[in-house]
Symmetry: C2
């Protein structure tokens, strides 16, 4: 039920960057992002008949659709001012969108409240869950099949994707350098790796890579990444935008800003990747049309 990753190569993109680039795109995964790998694995493997999560982003849509396929009930807690298209998508996938006023109640408070009300319910985390890492590991095993690659770059928010890739490559017996790509504006993972312990931010960053606004890595993910990651590249907002535009112009690929982080990392630290064959994981493609049009127009 997982769709295989879509591999895209653009000779113009590779030549422009002086780095051999293979795009591993999850933008055509069910619900438009890699999150479906984890959501499907969670919904399939827990015995509960109901799932509950707080998410205004890709995980909510992914869990909603996985539950619809598996004929389980699903409730997604979302801020009431979430983009209409996101609320609409969750509902189209058959879930209940539970809208809250975050000035009156936090997402966690509402999740706890609902968990007490609902029976036979599993609270799904978007990233700090062994089933999430196991779900994402399927992408690592797929990347392990690309014989020419020597380096993988994956975006880092909560760390579930990068940890899953590290684990999947290990399962496949393939040792490739895995590098994280994180917004410089939300660099808690880079700081955690430098400090050797988990660093938590207090307030959410306003980076345009909204999938990487998490306050900290998941604990399970940090344990995997501090061993398995060959460093993190911090990517500026301008480099993220440039990467979105390069993907549009030279690879015909619509990516959301978080999805373009890995290519942004090549722009940010070009020397590190020169002469290598780099698999850039494009994690998702769900971006509002008006925002995307602005990004294209602001070149």
């Amino acid at each position: 039920m997982i769709r295989p990753v879509t591999l895209i190569e653009s000779v113009r993109l590779s030549r422009k960057l002086g780095v051999q680039i293979i795009l591993a795109s999850e933008t055509f995964q069910h619900t438009g992002s890699f999150k479906y790998r984890a959501a499907w694995n969670v919904a399939k493997n827990v015995p509960h008949k109901q799932l509950l999560a707080a998410s205004s982003g890709n995980f909510g849509q992914a869990l909603a659709y996985a539950c619809q396929i598996l004929e389980k009930r699903c409730t997604i807690v979302m801020p009431q001012d979430s983009a209409t298209v996101k609320i609409k998508a969750v509902r189209e996938y058959g879930a209940t969108a539970d809208l809250i006023d975050v000035r009156l109640k936090t997402r966690k408070e509402r999740v706890d409240e609902l968990a007490a009300e609902l029976s036979d319910v599993y609270i799904a985390s978007a990233y700090d869950d062994d089933l999430v890492i196991a779900g994402n590991s399927s992408l690592g095993r797929e990347i392990a099949q690309i014989s020419t690659v020597d380096t993988v770059i994956a975006p880092v928010g909560g760390g579930g994707l990068a940890a899953g890739i590290v684990q999947g490559l290990r399962e496949a017996g393939r040792s490739l350098a895995v590098v994280g790509a994180e917004p410089a504006m939300a660099n808690d993972a880079a700081r955690s790796l430098r400090a050797g312990h988990l660093v938590r931010d207090i307030t959410e960053s306003a980076t345009i890579a909204d999938g990487a606004r998490t306050l900290s890595l998941g604990e399970r993910n940090f344990a995997i990444l501090k061993q398995g990651l060959g460093g993190i590249v911090e990517v500026s907002e301008e480099q993220i935008l440039d990467a979105v535009r390069l993907l549009f112009h030279l690879a015909n690929l619509k990516a959301e800003p978080t999805g373009a982080l890995a290519l942004g990392a090549v722009l940010a630290d070009h020397e590190r990747f020169r002469g290598r064959t780099v698999c850039c994981v494009i994690s998702g493609g769900n971006v509002d049309a008006s925002f995307y049009a602005q990004i294209l127009a602001s070149a």
Copy 2:
């Protein structure tokens, strides 16, 4: 050297249209459109060391890159007011962009002039050539492998793509309904099929589907299509734009207007496809950022 077609399914798109849709996207083909299939087949199979074509669009880029790979020389005649990005792309693929003032000289005049000057040169047609149809037939053979499909919709300009698909399906021994999608503003192919003979327009249409502005079908293509095509759907400009936006919103797919014609045909003649499993061929993705941003913003 041909990249296989990328198959994309979006449950939200299929549900919205009430038709099971499988997108067969050539937007990630080398040079961003199906034209590379033909260009490669022509450049590889003619003995000439030099190729020459008039094209301001996807065929020019495709032929330029095919010749670069095959280490042949290539000249593309283009109007001097072609979009800068298109001239740049042809040059990046190693070809000579021969820019002309079309008020002073037609493309054909310039091609004839160059053909007389250059030695060992083959004049490549973008669509009226057996090698072009044979190149495009590879896509028909690939579509023949999709077991669930019962109908294929392909855009029709010069007719090389649709004719190639008909031929490829026949070679694979698969009998599927193949339907053409043509801009209502440039409906010479629909009129030709109705008349039973080749109809030629005098002036180029201004349809936004610029790949379908050809004045008539190629003669070879018409011979194949009048037998093999199960009709042509005429698509309005608004339906083409709606299809571009639907592909963006519900399938994360960047398509050029010509590439969205097949999905536009489903919008234009919904009843015809209800209950079917339809493979929509998305022929290419090369569209200017500013124009694309306008399309998204004008929803």
